[in-house]
Symmetry: C2
Subunit: 197 residues, 2 copies
């Protein structure tokens, strides 16, 4: 940890510590077609870890292709777990698994998510790319709505993935749509480690 | 680290390790008025750390109010530093510092950013909320463009903050605009730890 510097350029500055009068567990949805949905959820995980919170991340699509956050999370000295339960994107990019196989994996994942959320043990649960899993019919709308409605009052829940269902948006407190203005792949730049995976 | 689980729901799955034929350092801009710009940059930091990259984060506006990522980054067993150089948002929310004081802090920060970027030692540099610093005239457009144009070819550079300047967008490879669909504060919910700070 000695490699870490948290220096300030103006050490005379007084730091304010915020404390909400009323603690609330938020439901946050990150949707849209631009880059920055899963990574935003991961950034909030880092923030939550700073506050000493207990976190679970369940990835619904990722699982077949290595991505840097798997080791990033391992290197985080916090009470955080990451469970890549996906088998890649069903039906695209030469993915070899059939829809029933994808659905079976997603169904195991959503049951586990339900148990974790209902346990009351977590401060933050991330359901990464669950919107995609819903759109691909790997999970059902009612299953997702039930998770949101049934979550502990103080637990934050983050749902990511393009094409968030309107009923999920209705239930959420904070919803961002990430629009693509430009993307490197349109210049035929391959996915790059540290940014794209 | 034994508290960390990285279990797979289908251990029989083969994991593919991507490796781009051509490594490129990307310039990424996260802009717009919705939630998820700084947190997305932090998520990419976590990802980069997973790849063993060396990272510097310079926060241009944050510095006066505690935010969870300060301790989150400390808990990350990686070669990463976070430097909160800001004095809060100039001119709003009862911020007590004058424009010249804010500008002096931002000028120290951008000079440090330049040295770090030009050192060639970093794989990823994040200039958090530099777009706001530019709009508030705490730094100058030419200073920011010079950083982007002069960065090492393999180094990733992430710039965040609302109202990204069109010339910055022009130089970037990947640009996302985060649109607010809903935000908890509109329901009079105060900022909550782990999500908002």
């Amino acid at each position: 940890m000695d490699i870490k510097k948290l220096e300030r350029l103006h050490p005379e500055l007084k730091i304010t510590y915020m404390k909400p009068e009323k603690r609330v567990g938020l439901t946050v949805v990150l949707t849209g077609y631009g880059k920055g949905k899963s990574s935003s959820a991961l950034g909030m995980v880092l923030r939550a870890c700073g506050h000493g919170m207990k976190v679970s991340i369940i990835q619904f699509m990722k699982g077949d292709i290595y991505t840097g956050e798997w080791d990033g999370i391992r290197k985080l000295d916090c009470d955080v777990e990451l469970i890549p339960s996906g088998m890649g994107f069903c039906g695209i990019q030469g993915n070899p698994y059939s829809h029933p196989v994808h659905r079976e994996a997603a169904q195991r994942a959503i049951k586990m998510a339900k148990e974790k959320i209902e346990s009351g043990k977590y401060d933050l649960v991330v359901l990464d790319e669950i919107n995609n899993a819903l759109q691909l019919k790997l999970v059902d709308l009612e299953q997702v709505l039930e998770l949101i409605r049934g979550k502990p009052h103080l637990m934050h829940l983050i749902l990511t993935g393009r094409d968030a269902h309107p009923e999920i948006i209705d239930l959420a407190d904070t919803v961002s749509e990430v629009k693509e203005i430009k993307h490197a792949y349109r210049k035929d730049i391959e996915p790059q480690p540290g940014i794209d995976y």
